[in-house]
């Protein structure tokens, strides 16, 4: 197996090919194969594509790195559902390129935050979160007031 001088370990090209095949097996089963299945592309019946304004907002969310502190997927766990609302369904994300599920909740999950508070609440909370929660660690996003929406990005995204 560890043949000195003449085995796999003295044939670089063969070794590289075998190593490549080895890493491709798991890649195929867990990544490429699922991609070919319908269950990876589900769409809720009443799901609508993003409106231009929604997409522009989503792009701001991405530009500011909101995903570094907020998730957008509610787990089917009692406490998650109590805190954030109904758990997330695969078919809700059909138009998400990329997904913004996130990996860290320094702030709360935002999947169901839409409609939870009035627009004015968000407007003021974004500008100065500490006015609402004195000890909040969320950065102030007052500078967004002065920034224009990037129309080219949004149009191309539609």
């Amino acid at each position: 197996m560890s043949g000195h001088g003449n085995g796999l370990y003295s044939k670089a090209l063969l070794f590289t090919i075998v190593a490549t095949i080895t890493v491709l097996i798991g890649t195929f089963v867990t990544m490429f194969y699922p991609m070919m299945r319908d269950e990876m592309h589900p769409k809720l019946e009443n799901l609508k594509p993003f409106t231009p304004l929604e997409l522009a907002g989503r792009n701001i969310y991405m530009r500011e790195g909101c995903m570094n502190c907020h998730t957008q997927t509610v787990r089917p766990l009692k406490a998650d559902v109590l805190r954030y609302g109904d758990y997330s369904k695969a078919g809700e994300f059909y138009y998400d390129r990329p997904h913004l599920w996130g990996s860290k909740r320094t702030g709360p999950d935002l999947a169901r935050v839409g409609g939870k508070y009035p627009d004015d609440w968000h407007y003021q909370h974004m500008a100065n979160p500490q006015a609402f929660y004195e000890k909040s660690n969320m950065p102030k996003y007052d500078f967004l007031n002065k920034k224009k929406i990037n129309i080219a990005q949004t149009v191309a995204g539609l």
Partner: protein, 470 residues
């Protein structure tokens, strides 16, 4: 000894560059650690947490981590193939392109140009540059290995080959996107599928940027710095193949309890648990290597960098799979436990082994001894304390956070509001900042020691030249 020409300049260049990017990444790390407990440390658009966290992870992963890997791989490859690099000038070009690329990439992240794919945030023009960079590196490294003078490939070369091939596959597939403008693109994959591709990439980026390359260094520099041969060649073979086989199946453990189909999650969790075996194969191999003469831990200052490093690799690869299990994931996922886990790996394993390797390489290149073993020992203990403090505080607050999120009153309502669970972290986040400062101070001792070693080597070379000319 020097019958074949070594391209030391490129190796040196990468080492100095990676240390430069390391300092920037660490300083930003300190700043964002303060931002977490005091929002006044967010300074407008370019210095707010959302953008800086991305800068922190990318500068350290790509600037420090991969920069060090490029340099150390060039060193390892020429040593292990017993021939010069196939294209030394291409390697020099690679060095300049690397630095220009990291500088530009960092700038774009400050600007907010981000794909929002974790650890693959760079927008598409940078991705194109990264691929070119990797191809240049691959041609040189693989070409040199193919044209080697030494018949048998040593263990480190296996890990280098696996790294070169797999990173290329991972990076290209996950970054496939449809460009909208020069600074914005939309992922080729959508929704659940996008998440699956991203975490197949994300987890294996850890595997093939922070595990296999570091093992390549470990298997070379542990025997070199102790004078002891690797305990079992057969164990290295088994560990290598089972590691690179199993790694690619495990990405979905990042997506436990998400809408990703259950069977992919379960498969990911199962292979993650299996991964303990090959990981510990290398750990055990390292321990038994030193088992033949433990006095090297005391007598050779470098040994502890590798042995303590591989110990954290062992702990990391027990903790990681545990986190994948559904019931544990439900408690600690999305909490600060996870940064605690990540930093044990990056500070305790990756950085420890990279520092040990650089301590070995720099005196070797400059034909001198290390400036001060004492400072190296101080460096070792300080970064160890900083890292342990960092990880342990994050584990404690992570469990607290997870528990507070779950707790309910007798009437079934939630016990804590979200902001209460945030504020409960503050003392731990403050302690984490202190831990970070301690770690950075340790790294400054390292930088000073390396700088002085280089100066010492230059002086000695000049003195030698003077005597030769006299």
């Amino acid at each position: 000894m020097n019958e074949y020409q070594y391209d030391y300049q490129t190796v040196k260049g990468f080492i100095v560059s990676c240390l430069f990017w390391g300092v920037i990444g660490l300083v930003i790390g300190l700043l964002i650690s303060i931002q977490l407990w005091n929002s006044d440390f967010n300074f407008g658009e370019y210095f707010s947490f959302g953008r800086l966290r991305t800068v922190h992870t990318n500068v350290l992963a790509y600037g420090l981590g991969i920069g060090a890997e490029f340099g150390i791989f060039y060193y390892l490859v020429i040593r292990l193939t017993k021939r010069p690099l196939l294209f030394p000038k291409l390697a020099r070009f690679h060095l300049w392109l690397f630095n220009a690329g990291i500088a530009l990439a960092t700038l774009t992240l400050f600007m907010g140009y981000s794909q929002n794919l974790e650890y693959a945030e760079f927008e598409w023009p940078i991705d194109v540059a990264v691929v070119i960079l990797w191809v240049i590196f691959a041609i040189n490294v693989m070409g040199t290995i193919f044209k080697r003078k030494e018949n048998e490939m040593y263990i480190s070369l296996w890990y280098i080959i696996a790294t070169v091939v797999t990173v290329a596959i991972l990076y290209i597939v996950n970054n496939l996107s449809i460009p909208a403008t020069l600074t914005k693109s939309y992922h080729l994959f959508a929704g659940v599928n996008s998440a699956n591709v991203e975490w197949w990439y994300g987890h294996n980026a850890v595997g093939f940027l922070f595990t296999t390359p570091i093992l390549a260094m470990f298997y070379y520099f542990l025997p070199k710095s102790t004078g002891l041969p690797i305990y079992s060649h057969r164990l290295s073979i088994i560990s290598f193949w089972s590691l690179i086989f199993a790694y690619l199946w495990t990405g979905a453990h990042h997506l436990v309890y998400t809408p990703l189909p259950d069977w992919i999650q379960t498969l990911g969790i199962a292979f993650t648990l299996f991964l303990i075996a090959p990981s510990w194969g290398s750990v055990v191999n390292g321990y038994f290597t030193v088992e033949s003469d433990w006095s090297v831990m005391k007598n050779k200052y470098l040994t502890k960098f590798f042995i303590v490093g591989v110990t954290f690799y062992g702990l990391q690869t027990i903790q990681g799979p545990s986190q994948g299990i559904r019931v544990i994931s439900s408690l600690i996922h999305y909490t600060d436990w996870v940064p605690g886990h990540v930093h044990m790996g990056t500070m305790g394993w990756v950085t420890m082994v990279i520092c040990g390797s650089i301590y070995y390489i720099i005196p070797h290149i400059y034909k001198t001894e290390i400036y001060s073993e004492k400072i190296a020992n101080i460096h070792f203990w300080i970064v160890l304390i900083g890292q342990l403090m960092f990880s342990i505080t994050m584990w404690i607050t992570g469990i607290q956070q997870g528990a507070m999120w779950k707790m309910t009153n007798p009437d079934g309502t939630l016990k804590y509001t979200f902001i209460e669970t945030v504020i409960a972290n503050y003392p731990y986040w403050q302690m984490r900042t202190i831990a970070g400062v301690i770690f950075v101070v340790g790294m400054l001792f390292f930088l000073y020691n390396i700088y002085m070693t280089i100066q010492k080597g230059k002086k000695e070379a000049a003195a030698q030249l003077a005597t030769a000319n006299a």
